[in-house]
């Protein structure tokens, strides 16, 4: 009898103690910066994004080398037809001074445009590579990974832009890309670009993105890395 009474008493006490505080409430994640969880700083975000872009570029470089090694039809420089990359319409600074002349917002926008422009073509690339039996699974996986990474990178850059906007570094001129901006890689002749051409173009564009991000970072956060 006494034991049951004791248990009841303990339960009552526990209930009394816990009840007022046991209300489930959704606490916002990391609202209070330093006291709560670790909020990545802008520098950390930039570092992550830059690392990501570096990885992406190295992947594209590897794929391109593979292509050139095994599947280039002929080193026929005369017969080479250089088609324009579909992203050539995007005005990108082609030098350091030109890149430094650009405002942060424009630079960020360029990055985002580039990344956005390659979302679908990379998917197509993966699809075509998967279908063709010439490619091993490793290459097609690389293509798929590349597509995912581009997607992730775009998200990351968007977050960085958001953060910068919050911190007041960016104006509000940066707007989201309209879906009409996306263009399909269609060459002048109307034919779809080959895989090699796609890879060639993407390799270049990923290099651009990496470079632009570095410039942006060192302009906003001048640290010892820069």
């Amino acid at each position: 009898m006494s034991r049951s009474l004791k248990q009841v008493a303990v339960l009552l006490v526990a209930l009394l103690c816990l009840d007022p505080h046991s209300r489930v409430s959704s606490a916002p994640i990391c609202t209070h910066g330093p006291s709560g969880c670790h909020v990545p700083s802008l520098a950390d975000l930039f570092d992550r994004v830059i690392q990501h872009s570096a990885r992406m570029h190295s992947l594209s470089n590897d794929l391109h080398s593979e292509f050139e090694q095994y599947f280039l039809p002929s080193k026929n420089s005369i017969g080479k037809i250089y088609r324009k990359c579909h992203t050539s319409s995007i005005l990108t600074p082609n030098g350091k001074e030109n890149a430094q002349k650009l405002a942060r917002e424009e630079l960020t926008e360029v990055i985002l445009k580039l990344l956005m422009a390659w979302r679908d073509p990379l998917f197509q690339l993966h699809q075509s590579m998967a279908h063709q039996q010439d490619f091993n699974s490793f290459s097609s996986n690389k293509a798929l990974e590349m597509g995912d990474m581009t997607h992730e990178l775009r998200k990351g850059v968007e977050k960085v832009a958001e953060k910068m906007r919050v911190l007041g570094m960016l104006g509000n001129s940066v707007t989201g890309l309209s879906p009409a901006e996306t263009m399909l890689p269609i060459s002048d002749s109307g034919e779809a670009m080959s895989n090699y051409e796609l890879l060639y173009c993407f390799r270049r564009d990923s290099n651009k993105v990496q470079n632009y991000l570095k410039i942006l970072k060192c302009r906003i956060i001048p640290e010892h890395d820069c």
Binding site: A54, S77, K84, N94, K96, N207, K214, K217
Partner: protein, 604 residues
């Protein structure tokens, strides 16, 4: 028609002549490489072909991708011969350059193969600068810290270019370099270099996508001469501990036995004198245990000696007559049953038997039924006989009035004897001096006391009935003392008393040996030498009656609290009552109920 033919023949002849002279159109140049040191400018180098013997000029032309406009090289000089330098204005990244070189001389020109160049991928930085190597001394040992700076032209600050560094080290004599990657940092610590040697250090760098730069000039660094203390310390410690271990081992070896004794104590074997382990092992247990038997244990006492005892009789006037002894006679007489008071030490009955034997003439040993101690029995039997015999011829002794040997039993240290050793002592019966002649004047003084001091004390100590004590202690050998010793000189101070007999009423009748008036049944003797037991009361009080002519003193002396069932015996009719009240006043009652009759002595 004729003119064209003539011209052709002329040209042919000129060519033949020029060939004979060794001049021709220039050979095809070849672009070797194009490099950009900082991703902002770039330079292209070509290789001229055969010049054909004539002075040849080279021109570089390029056009950008997706454009047909052809540009010529802006700068042929900056980069040296057969080079073309593109400055910042003319350099565009992420754009393909289609470059060709044209060689021209008097006889003709030649065009090289076009080369596609994307500046972003032809970056090769300059070598790092200011490579310094310093020896840093620390507790763990000195090491070399190599530091450098980025090439001047590379703009890493804006993030335009990212450089990765690499250094290599080797000794002068080594063939292979040891390479270390330093990442993006501009210093590096090189450890574990050999002391007292000179090392060569070189550094180079690379952009994240590009070509490695050239190695810097060799930087020399000399490592100081040092002893690797850490290692030497451990060596010293190891040697020391080995030394200690050796010493310990040697010590243990020397003290092997004591260590064994300490760790594994030997199982104690049997340590019994006379015990032979070998016999035990052989299995003969009888022989083994026979050795354990100690000869001569328990110690036997020659009871012959015990029985010999002198009975001293003193003159009343001169000295007290102390009749030490337990009043065992009465008690023993009383307690005929052996089981009551006797623990085998020699019963009263044995004494009784002894008396009867000696007096009657040695009856059969009916004492078998009594409980004797093992030794007591034998001794008593021997004493009986000896005493009986001894006293027969002892009559000549008695003629002197010499006392016959009264067997006195004193407690022998029997194994079952519970008394303390010090309490065990021979109890002598000293009978008061009794004049052999019937000299009545001496008689009054004669009395005997039975000291019961010892008995009560002992009894109190051990809690045994006094009769046992009395049994064990006092045995009267009432043997041929009946033969009186006539002619005992009255002048003698000592006179012996004999116990005439123990009458059926358990009365001890004493009479002097030289008493001529002794009667075989002298229970009624009114002599003054006697002290007759008056009576034994119901509570086992022995009343000694001092049988004097004038008065009769009763000494209440309580021998014991014997748990006997003996009925009280009345006094003999001969013994007349005395004023019993008198001695009672002088008696001293002891704490335990015993009466100390010795107190009454001076009063007499």
């Amino acid at each position: 028609m004729r003119n064209s033919g003539a011209v052709l023949i002329l040209i042919f002849i000129v060519k033949l002549i020029s060939q004979a002279a060794g001049v021709s159109a220039p050979g095809k140049p070849k672009l070797t490489s194009c490099r950009s040191p900082e991703k902002e400018t770039f330079t292209c180098w070509w290789e001229p072909g055969e010049d054909g013997g004539l002075p040849t000029t080279y021109a570089l032309y390029y056009h950008l991708e997706n454009s047909e406009t052809v540009y010529e090289c802006p700068d042929y000089k900056t980069a040296g011969n057969n080079s073309c330098f593109f400055n910042k204005n003319d350099t565009s990244l992420w754009v393909n350059y289609n470059i060709t070189v044209v060689a021209t001389n008097a006889l003709g020109k030649n065009i090289s193969e076009p080369v596609e160049v994307d500046v972003a991928y032809i970056v090769q930085p300059n070598t790092p600068e200011n490579v310094t190597a310093v020896v840093v001394d620390e507790d763990q040992g000195p090491f070399v810290r190599v530091s450098w700076e980025k090439p001047r032209t590379a703009d890493t600050r804006s993030g335009w270019i990212t450089l990765l560094y690499q250094l290599r080290v080797k000794q002068q004599k080594d063939k292979e370099w040891e390479e270390y990657n330093a990442g993006m940092q501009k210093y590096y610590n090189v450890f574990s270099l050999h002391p007292d040697t000179e090392f060569m250090v070189q550094v180079r760098c690379k952009p994240d996508h590009g070509f490695w730069s050239e190695w810097t000039q060799t930087t020399y660094i000399k490592m100081p001469d040092y002893i690797p203390r850490q290692r030497s310390l451990w060596i010293i410690i190891t040697i020391f501990s080995v030394f200690i271990v050796l010493i310990l081992t040697w010590t243990l070896n020397v003290k092997r036995n004591s260590v064994k004794l300490c760790l594994l104590p030997p199982v104690p074997g049997p340590k019994i004198k006379g015990f032979d382990k070998q016999l035990l092992k052989s299995g003969k247990t009888e022989e083994v245990f026979n050795s354990l038997v100690i000869q001569g244990f328990p110690p036997t006492i020659d009871y012959d000696d015990l029985l010999v005892e002198y009975l001293e009789v003193y003159d009343n006037e001169e000295q007290e007559l102390v009749l030490d002894g337990k009043d065992l006679s009465e008690d023993c007489i009383k307690s005929k049953s052996p089981s009551d008071c006797d623990s085998g030490r020699g019963s009263c009955d044995s004494r009784t038997l002894l008396l009867e034997k000696c007096m009657v003439g040695r009856k059969g040993s009916g004492s078998d039924q009594h409980q004797y101690s093992q030794h007591g029995e034998t001794s008593w039997a021997s004493t009986e006989s000896s005493e009986c015999q001894g006293l027969e011829p002892g009559s000549p002794e008695s003629s002197d009035g010499r006392v016959k040997t009264w067997p006195v039993v004193f407690s022998s240290p029997q194994p079952h004897h519970h008394y303390q050793a010090e309490t065990v002592k021979p109890v002598y019966h000293s009978v008061p001096e009794i004049l052999n002649h019937s000299s009545p004047h001496i008689m009054p003084t004669n009395y005997h006391h039975l000291h019961h001091q010892d008995i009560p004390q002992q009894e109190g100590r051990h809690g045994k009935p006094a009769c046992r004590h009395s049994q064990s202690y006092n045995h009267f050998n009432l043997d041929g003392l009946n033969t009186p010793a006539p002619g005992v000189s009255p002048s003698r101070s000592l006179e012996y008393v004999e116990v005439q007999r123990v009458n059926p009423e358990n009365m001890l009748l004493l009479r002097p040996l030289s008493d001529p008036n002794r009667e075989p049944e002298g229970s009624d003797y009114a002599g003054e030498d006697y002290s007759k037991v008056k009576e034994v009361t119901s509570n086992n009080i022995l009343l000694l009656r001092r049988d004097t002519s004038h008065h009769c003193v009763d000494d209440y002396s309580q021998a014991s609290q014997c748990t006997t069932q003996q009925p009280p015996h009345p006094c003999k009719p001969v013994i007349y009552q005395s004023n019993s009240g008198m001695p009672q006043e002088g008696m001293r009652v002891m704490g335990n109920g015993y009466v100390d009759s010795t107190v009454l002595m001076p009063s007499y």
